[in-house]
C-alpha cells in the first residue's frame, strides 16, 4: 500500500499533463452563444434610428415570414466589411431589419449611405438593452427569426462572402 502511494503524485501529475495536452488541441472559441435560440423574440419596441426607416418592435418579427435581424453599429469596423454580404442577401429576396447599437442618427445615415442600405426597419438601441435581451454579446451579429417570431439562428461576427449561401439556406428552411 505504502509503496503504491509513492507513485500517486506522479500519477496525478501525469493526469494533469494529459488534460493540458488534450486542451492544446482544442480550438479556442471566445464566442458566447445566445441561449435564446428556439425561443420567441423578447418583447421590445425601438424608436427609428434613422429618418426614412421605421423603428423595430418584436411584433414586426412575427409577421408570417422569416427575416434577418442585423445587430450593428456605424462605429463597428467589421460591420463595414459585412455590408456587401447583407446587400447580397437582400438581393436574394431576404428581408433584413436592424438594431443600431449605441449609435447616433446622423452616423447611421452616413453608414447606410457609404456602405449600402439593405434594411427595412432600423431600431435605435442607445443603451444596448435590446442587445442584452437577445443574448447578443457584440457587433455585428445576425439573428434569423422565423414567421412566428421564434429565433432560429445566431450568426456571431461579420458574415463572410462564403457564409452567404449557408444563411440563405437557413432562411429557406425557416419558411
Amino acid at each position: 500500500m505504502r509503496r503504491a502511494l509513492i507513485w500517486l503524485p506522479l500519477a496525478v501529475f501525469a493526469a494533469f499533463l494529459l488534460v493540458f495536452l488534450l486542451g492544446l488541441g482544442k480550438r479556442d472559441d471566445p464566442a458566447i452563444r445566445s441561449q435564446m435560440i428556439g425561443k420567441p423574440v423578447p418583447a421590445f419596441a425601438l424608436a427609428p434610428a434613422v429618418p426614412g426607416h421605421p423603428g423595430l418592435a418584436a411584433a414586426d418579427l412575427a409577421r408570417g415570414g422569416p427575416r434577418l435581424v442585423n445587430v450593428f453599429a456605424s462605429w463597428c469596423l467589421p460591420c463595414r466589411a459585412e455590408a456587401p454580404q447583407l446587400m447580397a442577401l437582400k438581393r436574394r429576396g431576404i428581408p433584413i431589419d436592424a438594431v443600431a447599437i449605441r449609435d447616433r442618427g446622423e452616423d447611421v445615415a452616413a453608414f447606410l449611405r457609404d456602405y449600402g442600405d439593405p434594411f427595412e426597419r432600423v431600431g435605435a438601441d442607445p443603451r444596448s438593452q435590446v442587445q442584452f435581451a437577445l443574448g447578443s454579446s457584440g457587433v455585428p451579429e445576425t439573428f434569423l427569426v422565423d414567421g412566428r417570431g421564434i429565433i432560429r439562428l445566431q450568426h456571431i461576427g461579420d458574415i463572410r462572402p462564403e457564409e452567404v449561401d449557408a444563411i440563405h439556406a437557413a432562411w429557406e428552411r425557416a419558411k
Binding site: I32, Q35, M36, W75, D107, R127, S128, G135
Partner: protein, 144 residues
C-alpha cells in the same frame, strides 16, 4: 547579429508624422454612457446590492473581468441595466437569472451547485479532509 538600424532621415520624418497623425481606430461608440453606468444609485442599500451583483457578472466583451471592473461601453450598459432594475425593486438573483437565461451560466461568476460543478464545490472539503488525514499520520509517528 540583431541590431537596431536607425532610419534614414526622410524615413524618420515619415515615421514621426505617422505617430502624430495616428488616430485611435473606431471601436467605441460616440454616445455618452448609460445614465447609471458610472453613477451610483441614490439609496446606499440598493447601491450595495447592485455593486455586489455587478462584481459577480462577467463582462461580455472583456472576458475575464467583471462588469464592475470594466470600462468597456457594453459593461457600462450592463451596469446601467443592473442599477435600473435594482432601483425598480427587482431582486439581484432575478436579474442574474434573466442574464443567465440569455448568455448561459458563462455570464455569472458564481457557479451553481449542479452535477457538472460539484467537484468544484467538493474539492476544498475533500482536500481539507486529506490534509487532516496526512497530518494525523505525522503526529502519530512523532509521538511514538
Amino acid at each position: 547579429m540583431l541590431r537596431m538600424v536607425p532610419l534614414p532621415v526622410p524615413g524618420r520624418i515619415v515615421a514621426a508624422l505617422a505617430f502624430v497623425l495616428a488616430v485611435p481606430a473606431l471601436a467605441q461608440s460616440a454616445l455618452p454612457p448609460s445614465p447609471y453606468a458610472y453613477t451610483q444609485l441614490p439609496d446606499p442599500r440598493q447601491e450595495a446590492e447592485a455593486k455586489a451583483l455587478m462584481e459577480t457578472l462577467r463582462c461580455l466583451v472583456c472576458q475575464g473581468q467583471s462588469i464592475a471592473d470594466s470600462d468597456a461601453d457594453m459593461a457600462g450598459d450592463m451596469r446601467g441595466l443592473v442599477r435600473e432594475r435594482i432601483k425598480a425593486g427587482e431582486k439581484p438573483e432575478a436579474i442574474r437569472r434573466w442574464l443567465v437565461e440569455r448568455y448561459g451560466e458563462w455570464v455569472s461568476y458564481r457557479p451553481p451547485v449542479e452535477p457538472l460543478t460539484w467537484p468544484l464545490w467538493a474539492a476544498p472539503v475533500l482536500l481539507l479532509l486529506l490534509g487532516a488525514w496526512l497530518a494525523r499520520g505525522r503526529f502519530r509517528r512523532r509521538r511514538r
